[in-house]
């Protein structure tokens, strides 16, 4: 089976690669682009460990073919920190909102997408937004607190900047 030429943008960098028609975006990110921060937990879109955004939309990269990313803008965990950590990343460390850390990249990517849409969510809104991101270690308590603390800080910064 011949491969498909894919030209896309990942974390702002232009990239090109040849994808097997059956290859998922997750596998291409991990195996072709060495972006192993995005994790596979299930391969069936149930656990959210592979969460990335494509043109700003939160997706499970295990459910999307690499070829579908052609011409799109992909953001992964590796692109989240710029010159300094994103507030969510910092608050996850401060609140001990991770134990094994395997679900953490997906949860951070998903939480960032939430706060871009809803900068002041209720706990329940955070819980339902993150319901597609499984964590087996924490019981979610500290994750919810970290997201809310980051959201509060980002609102403060936003007001400060305005």
């Amino acid at each position: 089976m011949s491969k498909i030429h894919v030209s896309t943008t990942v974390n702002g960098d232009p990239v090109e690669f040849l994808a097997d028609p059956r290859e998922t975006l997750l596998d291409a990110l991990r195996n072709q682009l060495d972006l192993t921060g995005t994790k596979e937990g299930c391969g069936t879109g149930d656990c959210g460990a592979c969460s990335v955004t494509v043109d700003g939309t939160l997706v499970c990269s295990c459910l999307m073919l690499a070829a579908e990313a052609n011409g799109k803008r992909v953001e992964t965990i590796e692109g989240m920190a710029r010159e300094e950590l994103h507030p969510l990343q910092r608050k996850f460390i401060e609140h001990a909102a991770l134990q094994c850390g395997y679900c953490t990249p997906g949860i951070l990517v998903a939480a960032k997408a939430l706060l871009e849409r809803n900068p002041d969510p209720t706990d329940t809104e955070v819980r339902y937004w993150l319901a597609g991101n499984l964590c087996r270690c924490t019981g979610y308590d500290k994750i919810i607190r970290a997201v809310q603390d980051a959201a509060a800080e980002m609102r403060q910064d936003h007001r400060g900047a305005a």
Partner: protein
């Protein structure tokens, strides 16, 4: 061992600094099992039995091997023969011999130049099966007429006349049980069942193995214990342990399920057959669910005698557990001693059988055996409390084990904190919140022994006065932070000046895995001893420099000081100054300690849960949840809370949702996370925690393990809360909505 520090006056212990691995984990840089790659690496896939029980007639790999890019196929014929005991079990589970014993049992493996190609090749390997009769349920497996799935599985302990699937038998107790029941005002007996659940770590098993023709190899693997991986792989492959070097990756959860091997030897065997090229093997989620873990399923009879004032006069249990098609995998030996561990009861009888069934080889899961035992015993205690209208915490305080109690399984508890957890739960605001319609409250206590185990730690002083600590217990829940805190406290230097690394098998003596809640206890204890050894050497170096006796030097605040005015007037010599010139004062300074750590402190906890049950659908919502547990000393309280919350969440999942569902054909029907439903964020409330600190005299800083106990009380506590909300008692987990709805309807009629 006498405790040689007092609790007060810690500078660092009890604080909540950032964990050292936090930055790597929030940026995606942390390297887990599947994140390793090597030049020339191949990818592997495994062929698995679709049958619960089948004779393997023929394996034809010719079509697979004919594909360009397919480099090697391995079957059982490639593995050495003559293994015995658990080594044979491990080999049998790695690749089936004559017989596939469960749905998902590995039959062959293939390595190819890409993962997709390996999967294609696996589908081309033709296996001819002759399907055999199977059994998957624990009670059905020992019923008359059940097919004997493996001959000769019974060990020495099984009395004559038991079913051929019975593998082990155990009985113990004390006191006169019949007299105890006769002295009771009410005697009640019930049967409880729990289904198998999976550890459910989000990271599937993954490894990269490399082995040359000379039988020397390396492996990178996600595991709770890389020396176990080394020993087990060496046994299965018939090589010497020293020829295999195993490096642990970051680990994406384990909960006991990564204390053993499943597919790891296959990567080495394939590598050897493929000319020594490294082979990566990553499981899919359905492979994880079908062929790794899970825990045992259990069927349990409990009988209790109680006086009207709540005094428990006697107890008796008979547990039946299956842990898959292999002997020794069910936790009967842990479940029985856990059953009444929270109580001081004058007469007890414990009896259990292990039976084999056509299910995957069970692995340890957080406090193995204790959650099932607690579900049975704590549920019946709750039923009797409700019948006699007694407060469940008062009844536990009245009968609870305390300092100096002889435990239900033999030893005497020295200093324990069960009573303190009960009193704190009783005093907590959650226990006084009024309940609304369809709401109920459940209480249960739980226990875990905790564990010491084989431990080896090295600490090296740096030229700049920092300390590097090499430990052999992979860090799952923040143990690098807790061990770093204890070392920094001991050395009297900042936490940031200590770096704790989990090192490979070539760098330390043998370490048991991170299991049994032992990492912070045992590696921590050894690290403190190693630090003390380094301190003694640093004091000697300072003494030599000052020209005084080493005995006249004491260590405090990260520096050597003359001990008293008679020792001489010298300014303190800091660890930085000693480290800077250690090359000219005798050479590198390190401390080393290895021990089979004893002195574990038993762990107790008490949980209180409020639920609301929808009477129309049977769906249970957890309204609030409280965990109270004795940590001994909470070294890093945030990660102690994390263990409590995580354990509770897993227990809630076991109570409400999670179960292995086998069809009549013996196949697992829910091997994906959509159908094997672990709790998601919207299923749970905040989980309140209270850390009790009754220091363990057997640890320099009073540590007990904190990892395991938290999964134990939720099973009975949730079921009891549902009983309170509905009047319907669920005695068979999970309390799924259809089951609860049916129980509500039955209770009404």
């Amino acid at each position: 061992m006498a405790r040689d520090d007092v609790k007060t006056g810690y500078k660092l212990i009890g604080t909540r600094p950032n964990r050292p691995d936090g930055l790597d984990k929030v940026t995606g840089r942390a390297r887990y099992g599947a994140d390793f790659s090597l030049p020339g690496m191949l990818h592997a896939a495994v062929v698995r039995s679709p049958h619960a029980h089948a004779r393997i007639v023929k394996i034809d790999a010719s079509k697979a091997l004919a594909l360009d890019g397919v480099k090697a196929v391995v079957t059982r014929a490639d593995l050495p023969t003559g293994l015995t005991g658990e080594d044979l079990n491990l080999q049998d589970n790695t690749l089936a011999g004559d017989t596939a014993l469960y749905d998902g049992h590995a039959v062959a493996a293939v390595a190819a130049s890409s993962a997709l190609l390996a999967q294609d090749a696996a589908r081309l390997i033709e296996v001819t099966y002759e399907v055999l009769p199977h059994v998957t349920d624990v009670d059905a497996a020992m019923a008359p007429g059940a097919p004997v799935i493996r001959e000769g599985v019974a060990d020495y302990s099984v009395p004559e006349g038991m079913h051929g699937n019975v593998a082990r038998y155990m009985e113990f107790g004390h006191g006169d049980v019949e007299a105890g029941f006769a002295a009771a005002d009410i005697v009640r007996a019930q049967t409880y069942k729990t289904e198998a659940t999976h550890q459910g770590y989000i990271e599937p098993h993954a490894c990269v193995g490399q082995m040359g023709e000379d039988g020397r190899g390396e492996m990178w693997v996600c595991t709770q214990g890389h020396w176990y991986i080394r020993r087990m792989c060496a046994a299965v492959l018939g090589i010497e342990a020293a020829n295999l070097r195993v490096t642990p990756s970051e680990i994406g959860g384990g909960f006991g399920g990564k204390t053993t091997i499943f597919m790891e030897p296959l990567s080495l065997a394939l590598s050897k057959k493929a000319g020594g090229r490294p082979v990566k093997l990553v499981m899919s989620r359905s492979e994880v669910l079908r062929a790794t873990g899970p825990t045992a399923s259990a069927s349990m009879d409990v009988k209790l005698g109680m006086k009207t004032d709540g005094t428990i006069t006697a107890g008796q249990v008979y547990f039946r557990m299956q842990g898959g098609a292999f002997r020794g995998m069910s936790p009967i030996g842990e479940a029985l001693p856990c059953a009444f561990a929270c109580y001081d009861i004058p007469a007890l009888k414990h009896e259990a059988v292990e039976v084999i069934a056509n299910r995957p080889k069970a692995a340890a899961y957080r406090a193995p055996g204790s959650p099932m035992a607690a579900f049975a015993v704590e549920s019946l205690v709750d039923e009797m409390c409700r019948e006699l209208k007694l407060d469940p915490i008062e009844v536990r305080l009245k009968n609870g084990a305390t300092n100096g109690s002889k435990s239900s399984y033999g030893p005497v508890y020295n200093v324990i904190g069960l009573k303190e957890t009960l009193e704190a739960a009783q005093a907590h605001p959650n226990y006084a919140i009024p309940l609304g319609p369809n709401q109920g409250r459940g209480v249960a206590s739980g226990f875990w022994f905790n564990h010491g185990g084989e431990t080896s730690v090295t600490l090296a002083v740096g030229e700049d006065g920092t300390a590097t600590v090499m430990i052999g217990t992979p860090d799952i829940g923040g143990s690098r932070a807790s061990i770093g805190l204890m070392v920094a406290e001991t050395l009297g230097i900042p936490y940031e000046n200590v770096r704790v690394n989990v090192v490979e098998t070539g760098a330390l003596g043998v370490n048991e895995p991170t299991h049994g809640s032992r990492a912070t206890f045992a590696s921590g204890k050894a690290a403190v001893e190693a630090a003390r050894q380094a301190i003694a050497e640093m004091c000697r170096r300072a003494a030599a420099d000052w020209g005084i006796d080493a005995d006249a030097v004491e260590w405090k605040d990260g520096a050597a000081h003359p001990a008293g005015p008679n020792a001489g007037k010298f300014p303190p010599m800091t660890i930085g100054e000693i480290g800077a010139k250690m090359g000219s004062t005798g050479g590198p300074i390190s401390g080393h300690h290895e021990v089979t750590a004893e002195g574990v402190g038993a762990s107790f906890g008490t949980h209180v849960v409020d639920v609301e049950v929808d009477p129309e659908t049977g769906r249970t919502t957890v309204l609030r949840y409280l965990v109270v547990q004795d940590a001994g000393t909470a070294i890093h309280p945030a990660y102690v809370e994390g263990q409590y919350q995580g354990g509770a969440a897993q227990g809630i999942g076991w109570a409400l949702n999670e179960e292995y569902v086998y069809g009549a054909d013996g196949r697992l029907q829910n091997p994906v996370f959509l159908d094997y439903r672990i709790p998601v964020a919207s299923d749970l409330p905040m989980i309140d925690t209270v850390i009790i600190e009754v220091p363990n005299p057997g640890h320099p800083y009073g540590v007990r393990g904190v990892g395991e106990t938290g999964i134990t009380p939720p099973l009975p506590a949730v079921a009891s809360a549902i009983a309170g909300a509905t009047g319907a008692r669920i005695r068979s987990l999970p309390c799924s909505p259809p089951k609860v709805l049916a129980a509500i309807k039955a209770a009404r009629t």
